[in-house]
Symmetry: C2
Subunit: 344 residues, 2 copies
DNA sequence: GTGAAAGCGCTAACAG
DNA sequence: CTGTTAGCGCTTTCAC
């Protein structure tokens, strides 16, 4: 009424207060529910706010209550896969459940950029931070992050100070191999990557455990570690398959390798799934749905990890128990057409 | 000195001021460079700030200067492709050039969620907003966005109020077809999608223009529109290739269709590139690098669109010229192994 | 159940 | 070149 200066300034809490005939304090509480308000007053305030198109200024709110309703997400994205999008998506959804949003930044793996990113996120006073990796790995959390709550996604750290969430790699190996065994396969191969990363280690451990549990001795000629792309899969596939006592099924470290194994099988005149069953890991639909036959696979839980990490951030903020937890997410099997009982 | 209450509260501008023996105002200006400061004072202030580990509170800054250094990015992501990540990545980089960050939200195509997202972004007082689509389409910008600067990415709008950036679809058709023609192909087919979207329309127009310009009559049996995935590509490929006067080259609407065409060719005993040249669009490395032979393609500029959109947002904010511009980005050819001169 | 006053951390006016 | 004062929009004391 008195403060209409020139153009219609944004409607603020006091405009609502004036229009509703109450004090700004009451409006604040009516909106936030932070203290008891006469239901009638409250209803009127809400109505007026709606009418005036009031939109709370989260900056101002945060300035006073020292929360920004913003969580940071720092990743090392190199965007050839949909993983980044999935983790971010999961993080967003979890954040939304707490009226918050996600400020995502990627470092491109460059430590300098990462530091800059951290600084930026800190300047924006994010309420917490998810430190994420696109492929499962062990990381050292930059010490600049000491000031705020941090949760690791798709990464683990020797530092027990942080909660973390990763796929249960061994279980992946167990499930994938078990799936093949359950169809009656005895000679099951493993096409993996030649890197010492948790995923390779864990999946191989699962593979060997499953075989052992089934009473089958692994023939080392069935196991081959090359690069983690289709070329590596072709190479591994050729080595594993081009022999008399070839396996009747191959567990592939990922879908790209599986695609390479398809190609190798095709070159050798082997038909999938009649002559060879194949299972991958990742569930990259661009691959799994496009191959003929479509590829059975273990889906990696990127969305879930993003979601879990942010949820955990809020849990830690609320409960003062301070319990840090290292979560391993069970991954689920997506059955398609590439696995079938062996001929024999 | 006097305000050390309990624990070390965050160091603020006045702590720096006290330590450097100047006023908060001077510190503010020393940091922002908004007005001339004695170089010596400035240096001292900066040093002290560094020493104390001062980190500006962007909320407070924004509250006063009515900028948040935050831009919103609203998309319809369904994350099976890396596109979302790429657009966001480009947007982030452009934002960083203006000391800003990106608040990304996706609506999953749900109008209700979209509205909620808009409200959230507005409450966070983003300085501007990129309205993005993962696949090129025409959109109507929700009227709730009337209040702030908006730029469209990978989308165009009948409403000329908005700047927009899209791939130059016709040019893609021209370049892809031209590339095949330049190798001496005369019979060039086109495997596309059966949808009335700008990409399909534009690429077909480019294809036909290029053929016309080369003086070649398009045989309609060479053109086939099915779904935009590998299955569609297989179907189209079979129809186009299973005939005597088959084309010697096929321009595919996207890489997935191209993958399907590979499969169809394989089924028919046709070798690529000896018997058939293939070119795609998208440059999804998961596919282009994995196929044998590797797939030549026209790369879609998702990163660049994200970058352009955010840059344009800042340009519009600065220059008051208010000129809205509809940008078409030229896409570049990525040559790999799937194109070769025809046998004949 | 409600209000008045103070202030979050910063920058924009207005001095000098 | 520098300092003082006021206030961004909200929530939080503290009062009634």
């Amino acid at each position: 009424m008195d403060k209409k200066l020139g153009k219609s300034a944004r409607v603020g809490i006091r405009d609502v207060a004036a229009a509703a005939g109450v004090s700004p304090t009451t409006v604040s509480h009516a909106l936030s529910g932070a203290r008891a308000i006469n239901p009638a007053t409250r209803a009127r305030v809400l109505e007026v706010a709606q009418e005036l198109g009031y939109s709370p200024d989260l900056r101002a709110r945060g300035l006073r209550s020292s929360r920004t309703f913003t969580v940071g997400l720092l990743s090392d994205t190199i965007a050839v896969t949909p993983y980044a999008g999935l983790i971010i998506s999961g993080a967003q959804d979890a954040a939304a459940e707490h009226q918050s949003v996600v400020l995502a930044l990627d470092s491109t793996g460059d430590p300098q950029r990462e530091l800059l990113g951290i600084r930026t996120l800190l300047d924006h006073r994010v309420d917490g931070l998810v430190y994420a990796r696109m492929s499962h790995q062990s990381v050292n959390v930059p010490k600049e992050l000491g000031e705020i709550p941090v949760v690791l996604a798709n990464a683990s750290s020797p530092d027990l100070k942080f909660s973390s969430v990763v796929p249960d790699e061994k279980q992946i190996g167990l499930d994938a191999t078990g799936h093949l065994l359950s169809f009656g396969h005895q000679r099951v191969g493993f096409a993996t990557v030649n890197e010492n990363v948790p995923s390779a280690l864990g999946r191989e451990e699962g593979y060997r455990s499953a075989m052992r549990a089934a009473g089958i001795a692994v023939n080392e000629a069935w196991v081959c570690a090359k690069t983690g792309d289709a070329a590596g899969g072709r190479e591994a596939g050729r080595l594993i398959l081009d022999r008399e006592d070839r396996p009747t099924a191959i567990f592939c470290f990922n879908d790209e390798i599986a695609m390479g194994v398809y190609q190798a099988a095709n070159d050798l005149g082997l038909r999938i799934p009649e002559d060879l069953s194949v299972i991958g890991v990742d569930d990259l639909q661009l691959i799994t749905q496009a191959l003929v036959p479509t590829l059975s696979t273990i889906a990696l839980p990127h969305y879930q990890m993003g979601h879990w990490a942010v949820s955990q951030l809020f849990t830690q903020a609320t409960a003062q128990n301070g319990a840090r937890i290292a979560e391993k997410l069970r991954c689920h099997l997506v059955q398609r057409e590439s696995v079938k009982a062996p001929r024999s």
